[in-house]
Amino acid sequence: MSTVGYQQLPFGLSVGLVFLLIAFYVAILSATEKRGTRFGGLMAAAFVLLSLGSLVLSFFPILSWRIEVVVLLVSDAVLILLISWVCLAQAGRLPRRRGQRAQSLEEVARRPRLRTILSAAPVVMFGCWLSYGTLLLIFPAPALDATAQAPPHFLLAAFIAALPEAFFSGLAAWLYLRASGRRTPTRTLRLKNLFYSGGTFSWFAVVLIVFASMNAQVTLPDDAREAVVNGLLVAEEIFTLTSLLSFALGLTLRYVPAVSEAVVGRVYPALLRLQDRLDTLRWQRVSGGTERRLIKASYYASDAAELLGFGEEDLRRCLTTLQIAAIMAGHPDQARQSASDGITPEMARELHRLQARLLREEALASRLRWPTDLAEDQDYAAEETVGPLHDAVEAALTLTSRTEPDQVDERFVDSLWYGLAVAAAPDAGVIPAGRPDGEPTNLAGRRARRAYHDAKESARQMAVG
């Protein structure tokens, strides 16, 4: 990027530009202080530096071509730094603030070779910068005065400078354009990436304009050169301003994830771990055939549920309550019962707490469901949700804590499924047999107990018959 455009500006405009950019710098910093990287501050600082540079140039004209080359190299280094920063951010190579780990753009993750190419951007561009810088320092040329005639080797320097910068800025612009497409989850993110694409495309345009300007210095005669270069300088300033505004808009657009990383990264996996352990233990005890009392009690309860006429979900609540309570209470038939083999009441309470925590997340609660059928050609026709298990865990905790009937949660008091679980509990070994537990005082409990005894009696008669 050349600073020739700024050198031509009237003094007052330069000063105004400096103050504007300082204010912009402060605004960007305050808006981006919580952003993932420090790009906002870097870009604002870069533009302030360039504006200060043009201000200095307007006071102190440059007397030798070598100093012009040095100024050109400094301003080009700033552009290379910005392009490199963007490429490394797209490759997921930049450290992020707030303890987050870097991630590449989704498009880059799908194509691993792109990540290698983007990661090499700083080395390639600074390598070329050193090359053409060395060439111009040994054989200086009018690097800042775009209307002056330049020697032929200036074209070679222009080519070495422009090629990698155009390639990487163009690549970055294309990647951000892809990231603003339909695959992007939210509208805000699409808009951000669209602005970033506009910003990096503007850099691409500036590089091409500077190359064209340097080309004109070598190839065009004096009259034509001045007209062409002046037009190119105006275009360069427009694209420079466009890049500044595009990135400012993109950086200040804020989006808030629908579900926080803390919930997704810690709470949800913790729930999965505990629920998986509980479900696996339930399955092992029942399918393994070792919990004979529990299996028998479950059969009687299923028959009783049919007599009572309640649905699949309530039956699942009842049987799950019995199974969890049996695991927590331990069973005299178990040869080995240790904390590593079972679920303690503390673990069950933790599971219940995690379930309640996730069910409070509005965006997440509706997605806490798992297919009951894993056949691949079917849609999610039947799913199990967290709700019934949440009720069952609480009910099992109530059962095993020997809660007095008048202290049971009112949601359970009039529930037939809970009443049935209480009726079946002694046979499942949850409450020791023979403990005087008395007739339930509520209607649902009495109905459930009667249905359970009828189902048990009927099964005995069939066995005898």
Binding site: G36, R113, L189, K192, Y255, E261, L374
Partner: protein, 201 residues
């Protein structure tokens, strides 16, 4: 001087590592000798993006289909009803195995068996767990999806005789991967790790 594409790729890869993010000194490791960091949600999301499953809801079948061409094998997953194979289900339950996986090197085919009587979430996690082993390259497939090599078994492991204990590094990583898979598959576009792949600055 002509440079072959393979050599150029290696040179670029080495240059790329110069600018790689330094390892977080507090990152968790497996604790084993020559320990490497355990799989992070960000790394898993990168894998999903490579499979084309980032920011979308997916089931194990979709993950399996996306994994097959990467590993260059065929993967079959079967959920068998308990009433068809009651003896097998009972034996698995008594041994503490919730799924069986085998890999035939000659046929380049992997088979996963899961009992249908498992509760839905346990069944889903069991299937994802075995797919995670395949993705990590634990079964000796021609290729693997994971960036890092497979972790070793723990000192108390005897995978041919009995299930590995929970502290086995290989099982720990498979479990992590299964959880991430389940979370990402149910959340789809709401997954913040997927969203962050579109917000790099």
């Amino acid at each position: 001087m002509r440079v072959s594409p393979v050599r150029a790729s290696r040179i670029l890869a080495k240059l790329g590592r110069i600018f790689s993010v330094p390892e977080d000194p507090e990152v968790r490791t497996t604790g084993a000798p020559d320990a490497r960091p355990v799989l992070t949600p960000e790394e898993f999301q990168q894998e999903l993006a490579y499979l084309g499953l980032s920011a979308v809801e997916f089931r194990p079948g979709a993950y399996r289909k996306a994994l097959e061409p990467i590993l260059e094998i065929r993967i079959t997953a079967r959920v068998f009803p308990e009433h068809l194979k009651p003896g097998l289900a009972r034996a698995m339950a008594r041994e503490g195995r919730v799924a069986l996986v085998s890999y035939d090197k000659e046929e380049k085919a992997a088979t996963i068996l899961v009992p249908g009587s498992l509760p839905p979430l346990a069944r889903l996690l069991a299937l994802n767990h075995e797919l995670a082993h395949l993705a990590s390259g634990d079964l000796g497939t021609p290729r693997r999806l994971a960036k890092h090599p497979s972790l070793p078994h723990g000192p108390k492991c005897d995978p041919d005789e009995k299930p590995c204990p929970p502290e086995c590094p290989r099982e720990q990583e498979a479990e992590l991967r299964a959880y991430y898979m389940t979370v990402a598959g149910t959340l789809g576009p709401l997954n913040p790790y997927a969203e962050r792949m579109f917000d790099t600055l």
